[in-house]
């Protein structure tokens, strides 16, 4: 009986692939944002701006989740929520739990969008969803919602 139990445990571990823990949302300000979007020497950063209430954002989240897991050695996916900070406990964290979101999730707690939109990218029109990919020597800005294929193609130009 004991043997079967061990065997089952091993099988279960094998079949559930993405073993990363569900993320806990963390608040950042404009200074934090500047650090997040700065290139890293170690990994390619895939940064997506989203919100729990934004349907096209929510639609593309699984693509980022898959990408972050598949390329976990080369890529860091960072999901920056533009939900209001007062909704962290009522909406954002419950959303992450329910949808088992495992990428890094930050919440930009700053309503003065006109100040930080140009910091993120001069080509950003301020609409979400929006995505950018930053490596140590390259930056690409995608001012639109992405399909899974488009995201794959995008990351392939960096790898």
């Amino acid at each position: 009986m004991k043997k079967i139990f061990y065997f089952l445990t091993i099988i279960t571990l094998f079949t559930s692939c993405d073993e990363r823990a569900i993320s806990t949302v963390e608040k950042i300000d404009q200074e934090g944002l500047k650090k997040v979007i700065a290139p890293s020497q170690k990994k390619i950063k895939v940064i997506n701006f989203w919100a729990t209430w934004c349907a096209p954002c929510v639609e593309e989240l699984p693509y980022f989740e898959d990408l972050g897991y598949a390329y976990r050695d080369e890529v860091e996916v960072i999901l920056i929520s533009l939900d209001e900070a007062k909704n962290i406990d009522s909406a954002v964290q419950p959303f992450l739990n329910e949808n088992k979101i495992k990428s890094t999730v930050l919440l930009l707690d700053d309503p003065y969008a006109a100040e930080w939109i140009p910091i993120v990218d001069e080509h950003w029109d301020g609409a979400i969803p929006v995505t950018m990919i930053v490596s140590k020597d390259k930056k690409q800005f995608y001012n639109k919602a992405l399909t899974q294929e488009q995201l794959e193609d995008a990351i392939n130009t960096f790898l």
């Binding site: 934004c54 929510v58 639609e59 939109i117 140009p118 301020g126 609409a127 979400i128």
Partner: protein, 232 residues
């Protein structure tokens, strides 16, 4: 030998359950996210063409197109019908977007104040209700009534107008001034710089632009980055 047989049977059974439940889990997960039909290539091309147009859009000083769009009261609204207006505050906005909702009271206040000074608000919902069901024509009527909109709330049926303006999100403001028979774009961007808290606004971009137009001065800030929900 018999024990081994039983053991193997149990193992195979358990394995099947585990794999099946794993599959169930992954199907469930996919379903959590909004389902969307796969668009055919023609639609994709059209969408991309639209995005290209949207990228161009109007610059400050361009002449903006007039339109004939259906208002929530059933009437058809065109800029040419406002003979006494000196200009227009065109705001692409909608029901579903929290940024738009956050600005509703401020839009009403701006309309009340500046309509009398010759610059009425014209709100246009640019979204396809198939993408956002709460942006349907019926839902627009309901929301306008609830909030007591004092301005026309038009639907961009067929989505022909917003790409010409170059609107990409809601809310997205185009301030126009009549010059002869043309409507010239004077300001593009946000209403102000704090959607969360009207009392903590640092820059009233739109009102400052309106004040400048009314007093015949040059507008100091003619464009501003505006946060919003992508038009779909």
């Amino acid at each position: 030998m018999k024990t081994l047989k039983i053991l193997v049977t149990i193992l195979v059974g358990a394995l099947t359950i585990v794999i099946l439940s794993g599959m169930l889990e992954s199907t469930k997960r996919e379903n959590l996210f909004a389902e969307k039909p796969i668009p055919n290539q023609e639609q994709v091309d059209r969408q991309e063409a639209r995005e290209m147009n949207a990228l161009k859009g109007y610059q400050i000083g361009d002449s903006a197109t007039d339109f004939s769009l259906k208002n929530i009261d059933g009437s058809i609204v065109s800029l040419k019908n406002f003979e006494d207006a000196k200009g227009f505050v065109i705001i692409f906005t909608c029901n579903h977007c929290p940024y738009s909702v956050a600005y509703e009271d401020r839009i009403i206040a701006i309309d009340k104040k500046y309509k009398n000074l010759g610059y009425p608000v014209i709100a246009i919902n640019p979204n396809n209700p198939k993408e956002y069901p709460t942006d349907s024509f019926e839902a627009m009527k309901v929301r306008a009534k609830e909030k007591g909109f004092t301005f026309p709330y038009l639907i961009d049926r067929g989505q022909k107008i917003y790409p010409q303006y170059g609107a990409t999100k809601t809310p997205h403001v185009y301030l126009l001034q009549k010059e002869g028979d043309q409507n010239i774009v004077k300001y593009i961007g946000a209403i102000d710089d704090n959607y969360q808290d009207a009392s903590a606004v640092k820059n009233k971009f739109l009102e400052n632009a309106l004040q400048s137009l009314i007093s015949g001065k040059a507008i100091a800030t003619t464009t501003s980055p505006a946060i919003g929900c992508r038009i779909k």
